[in-house]
């Protein structure tokens, strides 16, 4: 994971991407026990090009393929790790990236989304594996309940949270 992070940091330094933050299972591993995952979700802000409001992943892919990385379906393989670069698609993603916490992996600086944002995004995404991860967060006791409630309120996710609680946490 050290080598992919070095390349992603270099992309940020070179202005190919803006701020980034790790989400998904790798992000969750910052707070929880490690669990098997095959890929890395990296949320990235992308610079707008040519005065156009559309964002494109093309410069990012060109940068990486020029350095020997190969694309595979929705991933691009960076130093052996399939990485999915995800531009923020809503205000929750934007906020999660802005408030991501700084950390290090083997001396390489990086950013990971907060536990509460990871839970909110998992709730919004709503697949079975997302719910399983939310339960891990709840059981681990790492969540700040007030902070989570504020995020869920801000992003209109309280109803979903209630439904989740009724189904998996016995109301």
């Amino acid at each position: 994971m050290k080598a992919p992070l070095e390349i992603i940091n270099q992309m940020e330094a070179d202005g190919v991407i803006g701020r980034y933050a790790i989400g998904g299972a790798v992000g969750a591993t910052f707070y929880l026990e490690p669990s098997a995952t095959l890929d890395v979700y990296v949320f990235v802000s992308l610079p707008k090009t040519g005065g156009c409001s559309l964002v494109t992943l093309t410069p990012l892919y060109e940068y990486l393929t020029a350095r020997g990385c190969k694309s595979e379906k929705e991933h691009i393989v960076v130093e052996g790790w399939p990485v999915q670069f995800i531009p923020p698609s809503n205000a929750l993603d934007e906020e999660a990236m802005e408030q991501a916490v700084e950390t290090e992996v083997e001396g390489i600086r990086t950013r990971v989304m907060t536990a509460e944002h990871l839970v909110a995004i998992a709730l919004k995404t709503g697949r079975a594996k997302d719910f399983s991860r939310i339960l891990q967060f709840v059981e681990s006791g790492v969540l700040d309940a007030d902070k989570l409630e504020q995020i869920l309120t801000r992003h209109s996710l309280l109803e979903k949270w209630e439904k989740f609680g009724n189904t998996f946490l016995g109301g």
Partner: protein
């Protein structure tokens, strides 16, 4: 719940807490090992195709 099962569950909880409290770099190394194992299992021809859904449970 029997005492035996209670001890097993408590032991699992402790192991989880111990793993969760490791430094991030250490956890990433474990995650890489888990990933290698998952890939080895996935490559086994005897493995049946996994049925998963990426659809939200609560649309």
């Amino acid at each position: 719940m029997s005492d035996w099962l209670r001890r097993v569950l408590e032991s699992k909880r402790q192991a989880r807490r111990r793993l969760a409290s490791l430094p991030f770099s250490e956890k990433i190394k474990l995650l890489e090992k888990l990933r290698d194992r998952s890939l080895a299992i996935a490559a086994n021809p005897l493995r049946r195709k996994q049925v998963t859904s990426d659809k939200p449970l609560f649309p």
